[in-house]
């Protein structure tokens, strides 16, 4: 298993109650697998309009494979400006 740290901001930080959390996923796991894990660990994410996942400071596609040491961040709907 690979241990990933997931960072949170804004509404995601309120749901998780912390600036980050850790989760284990099998080698070869994708962004889509991480999304399922997030919803399993914190069902309240299902109440958001949507959320994206950023990998190494860019929006990640569902099929991207996670690599140990990736910077992974939950991106709730943005509202800058």
């Amino acid at each position: 298993m690979i241990n990933h740290t997931i960072l949170t901001f804004a509404a995601a930080r309120e749901i998780v109650g912390a600036a980050s959390f850790k989760t284990d996923l099998a080698p070869g796991a994708t962004v889509s697998d991480l999304r399922a894990r997030i919803l399993e660990a914190y069902p309240a994410f299902g109440e958001l309009s949507d959320f994206a996942i950023a990998r190494n400071e860019a929006y990640a596609l569902p099929e991207e494979v996670l690599v140990e040491g990736d910077e992974l961040v939950i991106i709730p709907p943005v509202s800058g400006g």
């Binding site: 901001f9 804004a10 950023a54 991106i75 709730p76 943005v78 800058g80």
Partner: protein
């Protein structure tokens, strides 16, 4: 030229203007986003911005690169605040310069629209009926 910044200090319209001004340009367009005192029929007392700075700056720079390709602009500046803001404070400044005015107006609007779509910055409103992260919930 592209300049992007995220700051917890007040933004300067003069700085943004001076950064884009150029002798070859006949037009400069500034958009200044400010904190208004109401939303969805409720009084708003203050706001807080959270930002994923590293990615937000990258996305802002990408928007700058794209707008310079799409519109005939000389320079573009995107400055965004973070932290606690009061009513009337400046949340964001977009400045663009171009040889002729039409590209400046269009490019400036394009930049603020893209910023609102994809830059990872979040606004929390404090108002009479509670506090809410804007756009977070249906």
């Amino acid at each position: 030229m592209i300049d992007v910044q995220i700051s917890d200090q007040p933004l300067s319209i003069d700085t943004c203007y001076n950064t884009v001004q150029d002798p070859s340009c006949g037009g400069i367009c500034l958009f200044v986003g400010t904190i208004r005192n109401h939303n969805q029929g409720e009084d708003v007392s203050r706001l807080e911005f959270d930002s994923y700075d590293g990615m937000a700056l990258k996305e802002m720079r990408k928007i700058g690169e794209e707008v310079l390709e799409l519109y005939d602009l000389k320079s573009v500046v995107l400055h965004h605040r973070k932290g606690a803001l009061d009513i009337g404070d400046v949340a964001v400044i977009i400045a663009v310069s171009s040889v002729h005015r039409k590209a400046a107006f269009a490019g400036c609007e394009w930049v603020i629209d893209r910023l609102k779509e994809r830059v990872p910055i979040w606004k929390k409103e404090f108002r009479g009926d509670g506090s809410f992260w804007i756009n977070a919930r249906p």
